[in-house]
């Protein structure tokens, strides 16, 4: 299993071990992954879909799963203590597979992208800011960066600035 767990300075070692224990208890034989808003225990599809490696880091209020593809694309999924993915961030040469990482939020994102494009001609970052979904995408081909999160799902004490 290609995971590593690093305890951050702010995390008590007890908390770190409890999180690791929770992951093991759920019986993963290889790293788990999920779409935005999804349950981390429900799918391990993202890593398989992207044929990527996985690194897991436990932080003060969430677990961070980072997958990296051979071509250098990185997707980070931020999972709250109750196992929900509240944020996704990416960077790399390609755009990430949006249906895969946004899950049930994919259609809302797509509608928002059409609306922004229709509002004014030109090429500029994507900036969807709705109460139930934020999607920001910028950069240029071979150097993209972006994130998506559900504002109401951010754990207490976590700001959107940590999703990057």
């Amino acid at each position: 299993m290609n995971t590593s767990t690093h305890g951050k300075g702010r995390v008590s070692s007890v908390c770190a071990w409890l999180s690791v224990a929770a992951l093991i208890t759920l019986g993963f034989t290889f790293p788990a992954f999920a779409a935005l808003g999804g349950d981390v225990s429900s799918i391990q599809a993202d890593q398989a879909h992207m044929k990527a490696s996985l690194k897991t880091t436990v932080s003060h209020a969430y677990t961070l799963h980072e997958i990296k593809t051979p071509s250098g694309n990185i997707v980070r999924e931020y999972v709250s203590s109750d196992g929900r993915v509240f944020g996704v961030a990416w960077h790399g040469p390609s755009m990430p597979p949006m249906q895969q990482i946004l899950g049930t939020y994919f259609q809302q994102f797509s509608t928002g992208a059409q609306a922004q494009h229709a509002a004014h001609v030109g090429r500029r970052p994507l900036n969807i800011q709705q109460p139930g979904l934020v999607v920001q995408s910028s950069g240029h081909p071979r150097g993209f960066v972006g994130r998506a999160y559900v504002p109401g799902m951010l754990p207490a004490g976590v700001t959107e600035n940590e999703i990057r």
Binding site: T69, S94, M98, S138
Partner: protein, 419 residues
Amino acid sequence: MSKFLTVVVVGTLAFLVGCGGGSGTPKGVPTGGNGTNVQPIAVDGGPVPNQIYPDGAFTSVTLCNPGTTTCQTIDGILVDTGSVGLRVLSSAITLTGLQPLTSGSNTLYNCINFADTSFLWGTVSVADVQMAGEVASGATIQVVPDPATLGFTIPIDCSNGGVDESSQVNLGANGILGIGAEPEDCGPACDPNFDNGVPPNPSPYFLCSSTTCTPTSVLSFASGQSQQVLNPVVLFSTDNNGTIVQLPALPGQAATETGSLIFGIGTQANNQVPSSAKIFALDPSIGDTFTTTYKGQVLTGSFIDSGSNGLFFPDATIPACVDIPDFFCPASILSLSALNTETTSVTGATSTVNFSIDNADNLFAGGGGADAAYSTLGGPNTGGPFDFGLPFFYGRSVFTAIDGAAVPSNTPTAPWVAY
């Protein structure tokens, strides 16, 4: 599985021939040719009737059936230093002799996604491309058809939920001239030698039958016979190591602005790098970006991009426009400053960039709503890097040196950007 593709016309890869065995850094810039290397560009609102495309620099490109003098000049092509490859809408092409690359009964298709999640899907076709006195013979370009003519649905790996820009009104142009810092749009990651021939996921290249598309690897420029969509500049016989985009200074806004796209760096009297220029080496592994420090924020992944039609950067203190929240609408014009440095230091260049941001609603309404050029147009890039779009180019000559190209000996290994 064999990935051999038939190339209809083999182009002259003079650039690679001049570089020898391929090991080490090519130095020694070829002498310039005797044709003109200056292509006019215009910030003129673009080719779409009744639509002003703000801060887009447009030019014309001449396409010819390969090896013939049967040609067509197409205007309204967006000059884009942030992407790579010449991409032309099929609806703008009257030539009938451009053939796509094929493998058996399958056709090679290419997808490009942009940061706003819009995309272009089209065939990899071969054309002779002429601009000014330069010719790219047998160049692979993307020809973008009306999706209704395809006979299959564009793969979701390409469409990815974004806007299909295959029409002139959606694209705002007849095509895009991608002249970024790389010779081709994907690079080594798409080559059959990479990752045991497994294409990247999502893949930019597909082989499609009449009904089905399958991701595929394609030979990269390093192999000597690229099947990727190329930066046409690298196929010029001279003046092929980069470009300069110049626009005159613009204190506020104007109906139009005209400037120049100059081919070659250090190859002719008109494309020398001035000693005062700041040169920023770019790292392909981080998307050819640099670092911008703005209001205490250290923004890695920053870049200069003529294809972005504004200055886009994170600043929560500047209000966004209520009607178009992708642009800034401060109460009055703001004088701001940013500091650029390399992300990995090579030249050690540092550059303070002073710029202004004005109220976009007022800008668009100014000039009777008919202006195309704005030096103070910007918008939020929350959580993102600093995107120095077209306003950065007013009053500057911006050099882009192409990865792998021979550059002047007093400049670093390409890729790099300088101004």
